[in-house]
Symmetry: C2
């Protein structure tokens, strides 16, 4: 039987998507206008302004890619990596591994710097790799590893790369809006993020920002970018007023309404206040987990407030607990990925989800569901 | 000043995006759920079922790409074209030209079969190209050229390609839901479309369908697909229940709600009834244009009902007329592209825009705005 879909009302406390505020949902449902309408051009300018605010950058080339974060990642790599280019890729979780795949598909050679999952990228290891590979043109790393909850020192890694004339590509999918991310101050050349984590926009868009050094690299390419859809020079022609807003593709108009509203809300709250809200929610969660006897995977200094990897106690059935939380409490938390599957849960406190009432709800639900399990296991 | 955005209420009668029904807008604003939620998996299955209905296909691999039609185009080319592959590309407008760029960026060699803009692809010319290039592995063409309003004979072109063992890639961005498109009956191997034209979903997604022969070609690739985001085998792992719905990227959940609702409405109306509604709106428009002394670019037999290229009368200022229509009547019609810029307007009667009240409104507005202009010119 074909009929309209009514979603259940979930509390989203996994690795994303996160809770979306009713203001943002409502914004997406405003009447569609043309992607070349002068009124839409004005909105695009505001979105760029607000993204620059969120990224702490003055980069003119700051815009939302019309596709999810994976496409934002790909936009960075396909435009900046040319065949034969050597790229140092830091891998400490799933998304570093995805960066490596992107380098290779763009024809580049990836030099992998591995750190154990659950730990941050080791700047000393990056420095050694730069010593061994002085011809590396790019260093790529994940600021906030969504698969493990580890926060890496973007400032230090960027400084090392800069010192050797390498550009940095930074995955800020989970960090933007949740923890300090200072694109200009830290000298990050190309950064991509997602609309649906700490920004709490609707899922589907990928904010990116490119600095002047990155643009110079793109302009100096010897080969065409192998993606038409993600070719920066073409996309710029639409997003840049000086590019005359020439037609490239039909923008996802309503998704951009939603992103704009989410960014307006971030601006109203203030970026520093949003960071603090994430930190407060994290502290509240950690205290509660501690009381339940649950431990975090990541050492305190490198913990992401907005993505908490919780060790699954011995004898507890990962999937059954998550199913119970979803069915009995309409609560979504995330499973581990890759090597961490079955070993951790991922509790997201991102964007709208980072509120004390959500933390308390999650702790109560965990206590109820686990209480039973732990008794059974005992 | 940073504040929420209130779009003007436009009547969208250009080349897209089209009017979106309030039911579809409302669907997009329902609470977000996780992209791996069992309830979302059920919705994904319904979307696949409904897209198969719209495409008239039994292809298991039928799904919406998480990005606009340009990305759907790219998904077809990056997966099916390998370096050195020869592809016959039919060019009779902007989007055929974009196909050529896609072939080349995927490393293939494009053999272009040109037809004058405003005419359909000439099957005899395709046959000659196949004779001259028996090693061509693919024939690519645009079913409904959005830049000119010409409808090509997909059935005949596909039969020619099939006869020589070549696959066909078909751009159905503007045809899906507006005119007959019989994917299985005509033997179309890979077809992409958009959510925002005759389906009247929100802009941002690209329905695609791949037949068995296309999948065999993908499985037999000698080289990896150069896009990670658009790699069919990876995307299938998420959309195909047998692929275990493994995580690939975060799906644009709310945009899929909207597409689902638009497809439910198409199913309620019936596909043949939707085709007839587009035809009726077109006939009404043509009669009215005739009364105003305005002519269409495309000869009657090849006219797309849903995209009408109207010749701009001598002495009339293209941009000024469109600006007047937008400012005085909140009515958007489209300009010409490329060689047709300044020579035609494009009046779209797609999806929700293809209603008699919109046709009449558009004709009245044109009469008012042009009446003045034609007097001035006289």
């Amino acid at each position: 039987m074909v009929q309209s879909f009514t979603p259940p009302r979930r509390r989203l406390m996994g690795p994303g998507p996160t809770m979306v505020h009713p203001r943002v949902l409502e914004a997406s449902s405003r009447p569609t206008i043309g992607h070349l309408d002068p009124a839409f051009a004005g909105l695009m300018d505001e979105v760029k302004f607000l993204l620059k605010y969120a990224f702490r950058t003055q980069n003119a080339l700051t815009l939302p890619v019309s596709a999810p974060g994976s496409a934002g990642m790909e936009m960075c790599f396909v435009n900046l990596v040319e065949p034969e280019d050597k790229v140092i890729v830091c891998v400490n979780g799933v998304f570093g591994g995805r960066m490596k795949a992107n380098v290779e598909r763009a024809g580049g050679t990836a030099v992998v710097v591995e750190s154990p999952w659950g730990t941050p990228v080791d700047p000393a290891a990056v420095e050694q790799a730069l010593d061994r590979h002085p011809d590396a043109r790019i260093v790529a790393f994940v600021h906030a590893e969504t698969s493990t909850g580890a926060l890496s020192d973007a400032k230090s890694i960027a400084a090392l790369a800069r010192g050797r004339g390498a550009l940095v590509i930074v995955d800020a999918v989970t960090s933007l809006g949740g923890v300090p991310l200072l694109v200009d101050e830290w000298g990050l050349d190309a950064v991509y993020s997602g609309s649906q984590k700490c920004l709490s926009g609707m899922p589907g868009l990928s904010p990116v920002t490119f600095g002047e050094a990155a643009l110079e690299r793109v302009r100096a390419r010897r080969t065409p970018v192998n993606s038409w859809f993600l070719d920066l020079t073409l996309v710029m022609g639409y997003w840049d007023a000086e590019g005359g807003r020439s037609y490239h593709h039909t923008a996802p108009v309503n998704a951009i309404y939603a992103l704009h509203e989410a960014l307006v809300m971030l601006h109203e709250e203030g970026l520093e206040n949003a960071w603090q809200r994430h930190r407060d929610a994290h502290d509240r969660l950690v205290a509660g987990l501690d009381a339940l006897g649950l431990e975090l995977l990541v050492e305190e200094a490198a913990r992401l407030p907005q993505l908490n990897a919780v060790k699954i106690p011995q004898g507890v059935d990962d999937a059954a607990v998550r199913r119970d939380l979803l069915q009995r409490f309409d609560l979504e938390i995330g499973p581990g990925l890759g090597d961490l599957a079955g070993k951790i849960w991922r509790i997201g406190l991102m964007g709208e989800s980072a509120r004390p009432e959500n933390v308390d709800y999650c702790l109560d639900a965990l206590k109820t569901v686990l209480g039973g399990r732990l008794n059974c296991a005992a």
